[in-house]
Symmetry: D2
Subunit: 212 residues, 4 copies
């Protein structure tokens, strides 16, 4: 039985909920075909976000790690393709840090690609009616920071890791000014994506690029 | 016991489903506090859309009528404020009609306002975590045509009527290019709005306007 | 020689410029084929906006009136199709009035359609490479208020009138968060639209509707 | 006198113009403070795009290279932060190549950061009223391919290079469905950005990140 660690960020930026954390709570202990899900919550804080996930990786020794965060304004569940070695925070993190144009890891390369089968994840969700798409930018805030930091930590291991952005939940934006997704749909999508990770040692190939 | 007629359009424009019709199927027979819901499906055809709903009104003699249609691209359930006396079809209807700048009713006024408590409907949905907003344009296609036609037909009666646009369902747009809403959330929202109609003989007042 | 009055709103909502006013300043005295342009500025204030334009109409006795306002978020110059008998202000006007769900004219009809050749205006601008489109909602703020009020005032005259929304100028939104248009393009578009008004006693017909 | 090479892509995807090429034609020979501009056009073709620009670099021996391409849907001139080692073409290039999930350079790193002073460029444009913003994704089409390929080629030189995406020109989208910018504004923006490159050996620092 393999093990898949799914992590969810705590609320930030004035919100009192984060759909990532809400989803993770309900995914704890989920039994997939061939794997079991363990979860943890992650503080929206520069270095502590990375330390927290590393601690959980050392504790659970998972085969796969999926870090999950909220992407206000997106319509779909979006596995990220690339983490970049940049911190450029538009708002402070939950401890008041607001780095501008600093590196995540001083000696790291400019970027790391996801080692999850992002296209298989997207296709599995779409096939079950859950809006999903590959994203080519994880931003420059704590989400990208964590994505980069964990890829850097895992770079010489066999543990696969990637970041998935999810939309706001319905109740986070009720005035129609931004797209949202019901928590039920988010959880269904993440469960499908988790199964696709276990099922696809090697990613599938189909066009999911953007022109710009 | 009052009676509320909710109508849903059939698929159009190449889609094989219409969330309005899917929702209406599951709302049939719903028992609200003080009212019961009856429903019907409506063809996406110029004059026949109006004739169909008039037929159902004569058959059921409802106290309230809510006509419902799909609004691809919207994030929220949007009760419409106004129907205008214009047909300007960007695509043909399901019978191939494509009127340009014709009137819905040759001798009718330029517009009719909704007689439903649109703000109470919006607030009730928002309070329960369902994205909702007043819309100030129902477009110039069959949705607006039906809205106008039924308001014209009911203009000297006590039967209240308005049109509600709903987002695409998740499975109608799975690539993240347009916002969607789960069918469960759409049905929950319409049920809440229906109850708000029964509960609010007179609309409530709060700002829900747009600058442009 | 015919006379065309173009009016432009003053800044509002915290902005220190309004592209409508900037454009109008540069259109003053413009000689079209068969007509001359006169202009005035209009306060963003409930009743005074209407009074100001009526005063200018009585003074200039124009054949055509084009009231112009700013539409933050739009990509194109948009002649409006319909004014509705509703004030529902999301923000206060420049004198602090903020009516909610009040009528513009207590005894007026629910709406007035534009009496300008909106499609000819749109086509003329598009043909010269200026983004333009018919809009089916002028919102529920002072722009719609003025549009409705002037249509009501002119309803039994031969003076044609309509409202045109224009995008933000480049310098009003330099961070890329909203579409903008250069003032030169705005002025070119309005000049082309003005000529189209003079050239088209009767509007042309082509599809420019919206589904919702 | 320093030399700045600005390159512009040819039309693609069915368009008969590309604002990058139109802009570049008018920037040829531009004299900046302390530098002169040379230009060339670039085919929208996988390997030939890189070969063409390398040829021009060898010919002109510039101090700075700015590759420019069209970004349909963006509102602002956007210097790109990062090029990724991925080709994932949603449409074929102008020679019919459509690679999916291939590397730009088989042995290259996952990404290269721009070596231009992107924040100084953005600030200079914004200060002069031209909408501008840092972008964190150049997509996965020929624009990103060229950006990556040239960074790889220049990686051990002192020649600075980055990619800049520009909006559609007004005349490319006249129906208001996508934001556009006048060619005059695009050229003004690129000129300002070019001067900022010459003026800023080291980039300035201010927050221009995104949350996601």
């Amino acid at each position: 039985m393999k093990k898949l660690l799914i992590t969810g960020f705590e609320p930030f930026g004035g919100d009192d909920k984060n759909p990532a954390l809400e989803a993770v709570k309900r995914l704890e202990g989920l039994e997939l075909e061939g794997a079991v899900v363990v979860t943890c919550s992650v503080p929206v804080v520069l270095q502590r976000s990375i330390d927290t996930v590393i601690h959980e990786i050392e504790k659970h020794k998972p085969d796969y790690v999926v870090t999950v965060g909220q992407a206000g304004g997106r319509c779909a569940i979006t596995p990220e393709r690339v983490a970049i070695n940049i911190d450029d925070y538009r708002i402070p993190d939950n401890d008041g840090h607001q780095p501008i144009d600093q590196k995540v890891e001083e000696t790291g390369p400019d970027a790391y690609l996801s080692t999850l089968p992002i296209k298989a994840m997207v296709k599995a969700m779409q096939d079950k009616g859950i809006p999903a798409q590959v994203s080519n930018t994880a931003g420059t805030f704590v989400c990208n920071h964590l994505f980069y930091g964990i890829q850097h930590y895992l770079r010489e291991t066999n543990i696969k890791h990637g970041f998935v952005h999810i939309p706001l939940m319905n109740e986070q934006c009720t005035d129609g000014s931004k797209p949202t997704m019901s928590l039920d749909s988010i959880i269904e999508g993440l469960s499908i994506a988790a199964q696709a990770i276990v099922d696809n040692d090697k990613d599938i190939s189909f066009g999911a690029g953007t022109i710009c």
